[in-house]
Homo-oligomer: 232 residues x 2
């Protein structure tokens, strides 16, 4: 349970014993972003084994970073929320992400794309302000992907919550977006603009002209998209 210690009294070492173990900061990024249920966290960290996720959550709880809340009498319906110490990790996660955006070469990680991860992030950051004040449905198609991952729907409900579906919800679609996954990921990461992708015919938009025009605005990008890339 308890990690091997660096046996140094330096605060950097003391914090690193907790933070710098595999998957821990990725998990914390999910918690900082607001996920709280076990399977909600799994969705944001799909390649982390549930056993390790469970172990890391226990460690974070022991360290006072996460508080576990029983949502019902029956065991097995818990929520994991950041404590004050946990919320205070946000600057650490932001510093790491800002450095990564600025200095890590993106090419290798653009070979490991994941449409569900991308759509999940887009759902979370979508800005509903520029979106018409009614139910709005946007359909994304990634033509090169197998059937099971090809089509996704983002649905802005009248109450301004945003849902993500990967089966057809049956609503009228306001905007169709046809795009390859790499291009859409690059847009999300701030590496290219919607306008550029449309110009080069990597992104095809059909439907509402106002949604088309404002896409760069309502499409909330990665929190780090504004940091210019300097690597190489």
């Amino acid at each position: 349970m308890t990690n091997a210690s660096y046996k140094q009294f330096c605060p950097v070492a003391m914090a690193a014993e907790l933070l710098c173990t595999r998957w821990t900061v990725i998990l914390l990024r999910e918690l900082v972003a607001g996920s709280s249920r076990f399977n909600e966290l799994r969705r944001g960290v799909p390649r982390m084994s549930p056993a390790l996720l469970s172990k890391r959550l226990s460690e974070l709880e022991t360290a006072g970073v996460v508080r576990r809340e029983r949502l019902s009498e029956a065991p097995g319906i818990d929520a994991y929320r950041l404590t004050e110490a946990g919320h205070d990790l946000q600057p650490v996660i932001e510093a790491i992400g800002t450095w990564g955006q600025k200095w890590v070469e993106t090419e290798p990680s653009l070979e490991n794309l994941d449409p569900e991860l991308l759509m999940w992030d887009m759902r979370r950051n979508l800005d509903t302000d520029p979106v018409p004040d009614r139910r709005v449905v946007i359909e994304f198609t990634y033509p090169e992907l197998p059937e099971a991952q090809r089509r996704w729907w983002l649905i802005v409900e009248p109450d301004r919550t945003v849902d993500l579906c990967h089966i057809d919800p049956g609503f009228d679609v306001d905007l169709y977006a046809r795009v390859d996954l790499r291009t859409m990921t690059e847009i999300w990461m701030g590496l290219r603009s919607v306008a550029d992708a449309v110009d080069r015919e990597a992104l095809l938009l059909v439907g509402s002209t106002s949604l088309t025009r404002t896409m760069q605005t309502w499409l909330g990008l990665s929190p780090f998209a504004r940091q210019a890339k300097l690597a190489r």
Copy 2:
């Protein structure tokens, strides 16, 4: 050589692949603090095996964080210095350390004290401004330690460089400090003051009254000492 990837396009994950492996941020802290030679780095990370240190330095070089400089024709006399990307990691290290100082319980790490590490840090951060403008020698004695680790000398040279010795340099001593290692470490970490330790007779100072009076000033503390501790 290459680490297993998280296979996520998020900048946090991309950076964490490099940073969040064992010993890496501790090593970066040493590099940020200015160490550059292999054995100089070993001194700041004494419990890291030389094999792993060598491996981490190679990884950091590959990642563009560290540049290796040949200091002579003969192989085996290299210096490792941070690149621009490496210097840009300073905010990350600082964020981690600040969080650690604020939120990690210190008790466990105060059971793993190391006099050489402490003296090495004190040498690095000593503020020579308040020290008389001549050679000044301060002797530290940790009475509870075995002979080989008991006595240390900090020497401020006339040119304001600071040396650390663990064998008697033979110079006249300006100030003798007799203190237990835990107390001295707590002072260094900002958890208690020089005056408090003297009052409680945990720290005994004999010699120059001006050096005694100004000790809290010339004794440069840990860079994180000013951050208040909130844990528990």
